[in-house]
């Protein structure tokens, strides 16, 4: 049985979205040229994960998974709902939730927090296609977190882990601009290798017992 803290810290370090699962690599590679933009995208990812994971969690536990619709039974006159298993629909539901939440968040932020919108605005549309968001939802489903708290801890932890990864690599990429990287490796190639080396360094946190 894992403690909530355990889940949280694991999600940041040893099960880091980037280094352990390579999720969200596209935007990670594209937006990590400076620390500032990396930070902006990272915050946006935390934000969206923090919002979508709980929603998808509710969806999973009260609609999708086998027996999840038990609450319909029986006062509402629906029988046999406890055996309904809609989990085959989870992909489509999750992605729909994510896409619409990102839209909604974007509109809300623009309306109520223009300053925040200024900082995150350009990143939010990028997020819908960021695998780490759907990946977060799918891991949440796969690992069957038993309480809402755990799911939220996982979501936030994953987001923070992603932020750390992108900010670290952005700083490194700023540093290696001075390096004399072989031409064939410039840009993408060296970023892959750095990420791999960072992954090795991050392994120090694997297996930490909280």
């Amino acid at each position: 049985m894992e403690s909530t803290l355990d889940i949280f810290v694991k999600a940041i370090f040893s099960e880091n979205m980037i280094f352990a699962y390579f999720l969200g690599m596209c935007s990670y590679l594209a937006v990590s040229k400076t620390v500032k933009t990396g930070l902006g995208l990272g915050v946006a990812v935390i934000f969206v994960l923090g919002v979508t994971i709980p929603i998808n969690y509710l969806l999973e536990n009260y609609v999708l998974k086998e027996g999840a619709l038990e609450w319909l039974n029986p006062e509402y006159g629906i029988n046999g709902s406890s055996t309904i298993n809609l989990s085959f629909l989870s992909f489509i539901m999750f992605i729909a939730v994510i896409a619409s939440i990102v839209q909604l968040v974007e509109m809300l932020v623009e309306k109520f927090a223009p300053a925040l919108y200024g900082a995150l605005g350009i990143f939010l549309p990028l997020i819908a296609v960021n695998c780490s968001i759907l990946g977060g939802a799918l891991f949440m489903q796969d690992r069957q977190y038993s309480t809402m708290t755990d799911a939220v801890a996982f979501g936030l932890g994953s987001g923070i882990g992603w932020l750390i990864a992108i900010v670290f690599i952005a700083a490194i990429r700023e540093k290696i601009r001075y390096s004399n990287v072989p031409p064939a490796l410039r840009g993408l190639g060296i970023t892959f290798i750095i990420t791999g080396l960072m992954g090795i360094a991050f392994m120090s946190f694997m297996g930490i017992d909280y």
């Binding site: 049985m1 040893s14 309480t147």
Partner: protein, 233 residues
């Protein structure tokens, strides 16, 4: 045809059409494949149970062998070592239960699969614990005397290959054969496992996983031992 593709009505209609078609395809596919999927899950568990009693099985013959050795002879024990009535042992997912924080430890249920092999009755007991990176689990077979282990098989999801992952190896599993489940079985590092039935040589470099197996075994076996000690009398 002069349908305005951008009109609200069209958009709406198109969407509904799409949802209906997709929904129909997906649900029929899902329903159609459900028996197969269910069977797969079932077979996987059967293979594990069969392995614990030393029967090699694969997906093609598992069901047959399972029916031959185990059949429906199963029951469920409570955490206090009482036999519970009206539970389906096979459907009980001990891993899920282990992970689910909403179930108190005292409320956990422990299935028992009674197998019959070469005239010997064996109780196959599932066990779940935690390794270095993630969950580990296994099935232990206990012989006629209800205390000597006659077979064990362990598995894991994410242990380090070459280290923790070695708990899957027959050479590690076989060390448990002959140990008594009624008292603690210790995992040791100094190689003395060969000399003492209650000691098991840990995996070199896989200390944490080995210790995880030790903890898992001692915790689960205590529950079953409580049950067996009541039945034996």
């Amino acid at each position: 045809m002069a349908i305005n593709k951008e009109s609200n009505a069209y958009t709406f209609g198109f969407s509904i059409f799409l949802v209906v078609v997709v929904g129909a395809i997906l649900s029929s596919l899902s329903l159609g494949l459900k028996p197969l999927k269910d069977k797969n899950a079932e077979v996987k568990k059967q293979i594990d149970i069969l392995n614990a009693i030393g029967v090699d099985a694969d997906r093609s013959n598992a069901q047959e062998l399972y029916a031959q050795y185990v059949g429906n002879n199963t029951f469920v024990v409570s955490a206090q070592g009482e036999k519970l009535e009206g539970e389906d042992a096979f459907a009980l997912d001990v891993q899920k239960q282990h992970r689910d924080k909403t179930i108190a430890e005292e409320a956990r249920k422990f299935p028992v699969f009674v197998a019959n092999k070469d005239g010997q009755t064996m109780d196959v007991l599932p066990t779940v614990g935690k390794g270095l990176w993630g969950p580990i689990w296994g099935f232990v077979a206990v012989g006629d005397d209800m205390e000597t282990i006659v077979g064990a098989s362990f598995d894991h999801k994410t242990e380090t290959p070459g280290l923790g992952a070695e708990i899957k190896n027959t050479s590690f599993e076989e060390q448990y054969i002959g140990a008594k489940m009624t008292s603690n079985i210790t995992v040791v590092k100094d190689g003395s496992g060969k000399l003492d039935a209650q000691k098991v040589d840990g995996i070199t470099g896989g200390t944490i996983t080995s210790k995880g197996v030790e903890e898992m075994m001692n915790r689960t076996m205590a529950v079953y031992a409580a049950y067996f000690s009541k039945t034996k009398i």
